[in-house]
């Protein structure tokens, strides 16, 4: 009986505002006082469970002074050593792990051996910490100024200015709780994209629909990016479009390279987690189905429906994530995802064999003393073939977000890598 009564209470007045929140409240625990159910979910992102292709495995390790983490996620380099060949000469060849829940983002970035392999800039912080308040402070109220200042710092220095992983304030307006974009990278990236589509000075926080915001808040970080120029500005390469071909064209025009491949001397690119870009090519995006729909589905808590803030693999939550729209049994839903991912994985392995073969051929040709002129064509093809593969490989849904598009990209990648091998022989 008590139960019913308090449920009705909640119904009428879902959230008791016990504390006042303002634009400087970065501690999620404080927000949690007003929104305990969302806070509980948010805190559960520490969990680690493995799915067939996603989630993450909790791998115990003995903490050291340099890296106090007692648990990490499995190493992808060990799962597939071909990655070391592809990334030879780049920090990723030193340490690259399966990603895990939001709660770990700050630690995982701070302690990855990639920090040892190379000096990293303060720019990194943009997507691994609650930087909204720190940016505002640094820029004396000017978000972009603060962003630019932190980009220019060495990582260690910037690290001192932040405290939390992504927090409530990074996605919500403290007054209305409405979604908002706080990341300069996305604000500028989406503006460039819209401009290319003929929409002048697009302001996402004024012009986006609520539905779009349910994906844009994730697009703040789950995107391909690069550091532009000596000032290490974070840029999302969308000025020509979101399709991988447009992104590659953008890099080629600006002559950007992430590093020179240690084995082949090719000027290559590294792609990172383009979930937002790939999702955009899929049928779900086309149908207005957003990240939040699947990764933060509504959950009934007591007499209320709330967004599950335990952001995780939908494979661990099929009932809520999928079944409202797809009335298939959970086992069937899981099977559908895994059939897509299985096909994807097969083609991804073909593409990886192809680019590794090209790299080995280039290495041999180089050892045999062939001139840069001789190798130019093959190197250009490695750059393109490898980027296409890496783009799909770095995308974390194992093909699910856009199955046909991912396969198209892999098919093109295979073609380019094999043509590279042919170029060395003709």
């Amino acid at each position: 009986l008590v139960n019913i009564v308090e449920r009705k209470q909640e119904g009428r007045n879902p959230f008791y505002r016990v504390v006042d929140l303002d634009d400087t409240t970065s501690d999620p625990a404080v927000w949690g006082k007003n929104f305990p159910m969302q806070y509980d979910g948010y805190m559960r992102t520490v969990d680690q469970t493995r799915t067939r292709f996603g989630g993450s495995e909790a791998v115990p390790r003995t903490p050291t002074a340099a890296d106090p983490r007692s648990v990490v996620a499995q190493s992808k380099l060990e799962e597939d050593p071909r990655l070391k060949t592809i990334w030879a000469g780049y920090a990723f060849a030193r340490d690259f792990r399966e990603e895990r829940g939001h709660a770990h983002m700050l630690d995982d970035q701070t302690y990855t051996e990639r920090q040892i392999a190379a000096k990293q800039p303060g720019t990194c912080m943009h997507c691994h910490a609650s930087v909204y308040v720190p940016y505002m402070k640094l820029g004396d109220g000017d978000l972009i100024r603060g962003f630019e200042k932190m980009n220019a710092m060495p990582y260690a220095e910037a690290r001192k200015l932040v405290e939390h992983p992504v927090a409530c304030i990074d996605c919500h307006d403290p007054e209305t709780m409405q979604l908002r974009v706080t990341r300069p990278g996305f604000l500028e990236g989406i503006r460039a994209l819209k401009a290319s589509q003929g929409v002048a000075d697009y302001d996402v926080n004024r012009m986006a629909t609520r539905q779009e915001m349910r994906a844009f808040v994730c697009g703040q970080c789950h995107v391909e990016y690069y550091f532009k120029g000596p000032e290490k500005r974070l840029v999302y390469p969308w000025a020509k479009g979101l399709v991988v071909d447009s992104i590659l064209a953008y890099y080629d025009e600006s002559g950007h390279k992430d590093w020179v491949h240690a084995a082949t001397g090719a000027e290559v690119l590294k792609a990172q987690h383009p979930e937002f870009e790939m999702w955009n090519q899929g049928i779900h995006a086309r149908s207005g189905v957003t990240c939040a729909d699947c990764h933060m589905p509504y959950a009934r808590v007591g007499g209320l429906k709330i967004s599950d803030h335990h952001v995780q693999s939908p494979m661990l939550n099929l009932n809520r994530a999928c079944q409202t729209c797809h009335n298939w049994p959970e086992t069937e839903l899981a099977a559908r995802v895994e059939i897509i991912q299985g096909r994807h994985f097969e083609l991804r392995n073909r593409a990886m064999d192809a680019v590794v073969a090209l790299i080995q051929d280039l290495e041999a040709a180089r050892a045999a003393g062939r001139t840069d002129a001789d190798l130019a064509a093959a190197r250009a093809l490695q750059r393109r073939g490898q980027f296409l593969l890496d783009f799909v490989e770095a995308e974390n849904s194992s093909g699910f977000h856009a199955p046909q598009e991912a396969a198209r990209i892999l098919g093109a990648s295979i073609d380019l890598s094999r043509q590279g091998q042919l170029a060395l022989r003709d």
């Binding site: 009428r12 879902p14 209305t176 609520r210 729909d293 429906k305 709330i306 409202t324």
Partner: protein, 149 residues
């Protein structure tokens, strides 16, 4: 604007005819069904039969009739809607001028969206945006609550 005599007359006749046909249609095709709350009445039209059958199998059968979802709550708009839809559907039905696969009209969908809230407000309170323009669509996820298509 002003009509010259003959035109005015013609228009008058036209309207008269339209009304006449309309009334005939409305009565003959049981457009009056719209005035009751009995779902079976909707099924007076075989084109509605499928929806009726599907509704019988839906969880809402026990709790919501067609009109709970397809007409506004307030009395006046309710009967206004019934009349307009009633005439529209009757006319469509009589003339046979409508597509085989029916699609709810935007304004009727809006009515339905509000209907959801009428009953589920308590539970969905938390997920509603502050402004009407932020109202998210229930049907986007619960398209088949009334009747599987």
């Amino acid at each position: 604007m002003r009509f010259r005599g003959t035109e005015g007359a013609l228009v008058g006749i036209a309207i008269g005819l339209a009304a006449g046909v309309g009334i005939y249609t409305f009565v003959y095709a049981k457009g009056g069904s719209y005035m009751t709350n009995d779902p079976a009445a909707c099924a007076n039209c075989h084109v509605m039969q499928d929806y009726y059958d599907a509704w019988l199998k839906s969880p809402h059968r026990a709790v919501a009739v067609c009109n709970d979802c397809h007409t506004p709550h307030a009395l006046v708009p309710k009967y206004a809607t019934k009349a307009s839809n009633g005439f529209h559907h009757s006319f469509a039905f009589t003339s046979g001028r409508f597509k085989d696969t029916l699609r709810i009209k935007p304004h009727n969908l809006a009515i339905t969206e509000h209907a959801c809230r009428r009953c589920h407000e308590p539970i969905t309170h938390a997920i509603e945006g502050p402004r009407e323009s932020d109202m998210l669509s229930c049907v986007r996820c619960h398209a088949s609550v009334g009747h599987l298509r």
